[in-house]
Symmetry: C2
Amino acid sequence: MISLVERAACIRELVSQLGESKVRTTPEDLAAYETSVRHGSGLAAFAVLPGSTDEVSATLRCCLRHGITVIAQGANTGLVGAASPDSIGTHAILSLEKMSTLIEIDRINRSVLTSAGVRLSALNAKLAEHELVFPIDLGADPSIGGMIATNTGGARFIRYGDVRRSVLGLEVVLADEKGTVLNMTGGLRKNNAGVDLKQLFIGTGGAFGVITRAEIEVQTLARHVATALVVPNSEDVVTELLVGAERVFGETLTSFEGMSRNAMECVFRHMPRARNPFLPDPVPAYALLIETTSTGESEDGGAELQQRLNAFLERSLKSGTITNAVFDHADQLWTIRHSISEALQQEGRVIGLDIGLRRGDVSKFHTDARALVEKHFPWLKIFDFGHCGDGGDHFNLVWPKDGAPDFDNARASEAREALYSLVVEKYRGSFSAEHGIGPLNQIYYKKFTADSNKAFAGRIAQMFNPNDLLGRFSLN
Amino acid sequence: MISLVERAACIRELVSQLGESKVRTTPEDLAAYETSVRHGSGLAAFAVLPGSTDEVSATLRCCLRHGITVIAQGANTGLVGAASPDSIGTHAILSLEKMSTLIEIDRINRSVLTSAGVRLSALNAKLAEHELVFPIDLGADPSIGGMIATNTGGARFIRYGDVRRSVLGLEVVLADEKGTVLNMTGGLRKNNAGVDLKQLFIGTGGAFGVITRAEIEVQTLARHVATALVVPNSEDVVTELLVGAERVFGETLTSFEGMSRNAMECVFRHMPRARNPFLPDPVPAYALLIETTSTGESEDGGAELQQRLNAFLERSLKSGTITNAVFDHADQLWTIRHSISEALQQEGRVIGLDIGLRRGDVSKFHTDARALVEKHFPWLKIFDFGHCGDGGDHFNLVWPKDGAPDFDNARASEAREALYSLVVEKYRGSFSAEHGIGPLNQIYYKKFTADSNKAFAGRIAQMFNPNDLLGRFSLN
């Protein structure tokens, strides 16, 4: 709830405390904060652009006094609506965009201290000067704070894990009366001297506090890379190939990504930047993007890495588990993978799913899910792709523009819910693997989370965010 | 507090619910649960050995009704007293020893479901049949539940991280009226569909609940290993060598451990199983145990791994950063490293420190710490060793049997506290890096934890353990 009088008073105070340049109020100025880069839009009551932790604290205190809900926003590239205001203008946007310059590299500790608004691309450009990298690979260019609030996974999870794994420290501002700054930093890898409170701010979509700074463990930049797009003889052999690849490549395996024919064809149809490497053959039913990298020095310039990949593929070809493999320019193969989400938008209304499963359950789930769609929603087209290496599965559906009933939001939600039920109830999987929590999956949280777990989450929310001032996701 | 009447009533009820064989009450039967394998001892009111999650829940409910504090105990190998009863017999021990058979390996998911009482050695024996391993390396043989409650680190942290990194799921029993079983399992690598509650039970010493089951990501067993014990020209070049080693060995670097001359000499003096590999030369001032491993197949049988290590060492010798290196049998080199703690006990009273620092701060801290000891506690002997690769530092002191004032507990505590103050206040380090929290470091928690962080930890404790029934560490 927000009244025009409170809104005006809050803006006045913020202008006097932070200066006019850090408070945005006109529709033109607000537009940039209202529409997500990738999903959803709304109307903002106003936007604040604090330039320091103290200013974040002052902003939260001011909004609390006036009872105005605050949505923290980084690069606004999320997929669950967590950084978007609602459609009626009751939310203030707290953008971290002015807190985007601190990048303090500790070469010996192999870690970096950044402000929350720093973009992944900016961080990696700076790290590259020291042959270092924050190796979370995804299609977007999020802010570090947003990545932490989402606990982003991505396409190199099998080697580098999620964002949580790399977070050494956090500074967070709470939306309590004092605008408390919780300092959970120190840059330590080993620290078990109490409760590791920072874990609670990772993956909780900004519901507990506003992340202002982060300390992150970074990795040595890959020196050699070997990549192939591999055609398994059927989806049934994918896990066998995965287990085999882990044996053969060991610690050098960085990606094991799956793409269905529909997903690949859609990319070739709509994205001129992507090249079909299978031509003149038809696009296969399924393909695996396998990447191995080594970060160490090797005298052979990485030849051994490539040879090992080739030998694995030749053996698999001989045994019949794969029927082909292409070694085009690796960047072109990755372009296919990273273009799928955007390409799907051209096909119709996308019902995107971000599912987490045990690795062995993915193909079983696909069989069940295809049957479910075929039976109840036969007009929906399936464009699945996913991270076979970690069980993350984007079983995406498209409601086509042509040859289908008119789009019906309720029916689309039914399809989504039926698939989530299958995931959670039959496979004990997750309805949000790496996109985190936000208003777009709020109802599934309520439906699929065990009561006891929900009750504890609610009490923790009450503890850190006692006035329910932050974000659009209710943990109760 | 405990009365004999309540104690007797509680025992009667437990016997009737769990059977006589699962409740121990005589001094002879209790002895095994009263003395820690590595540190401390006490007196138990009684011991309960539940055989299932339901029996753990029944035990907690029964103890709650009678107001008897419960200490969960795995293999009892901890170093901070978290699994030991107090000295006056007010605590009941809940041993997980009967819950030690479930080891369900999911080969495709590369994960395992275990009961909390399973020993690391038993788990790894079973995993080895599938060429898998839970690669946490330490001197003791703890239970899986204890490792999670401690968030154990160890000597291969640089590659495999702490226990937290590998925990995919937990089942925990709370000490509330219902003995609530919190199910946080599913075996998923990617799951961000709410608050990741299981993080709160990792590293909190059993203060929030009793861990009964765990799902753990496991790794492919190392196929090739190259090891050397390296002599740096001084401690000052250690971090330079570390950064260089990470560049050269990349993802194959698994250990980078440091040992001081005192620590090594102490081992050679007291541990007949350890062989001095430097003979006939004197033991150097400092040595680094460097290990690289590869888990993948390589056609050369691991020769490249060894060659790369040799080349690195030859270059370092030529540039003068190292003065020698020995390649004895790797297991003999590791024996030196893993024998230090035990050997120190022979020298006198050990003041063990488990410190976490940024990697670049370790040698600066050593300089300061040596000056401090020299100035205020000149009779104490320093036997430092540590995990240079992750900043974990065991700056251990010994109060010698001879040539020193008589042992004085208060003075020993002063030395400990002075060093912790240096660690925390000057270096923002941790007074408990990988040994976790327990009664032995309770006072340092109170002294060195920020008030706001302590307040939140206390409220979380109040939430999960509302009757203050669990453990000996107060988070308030």
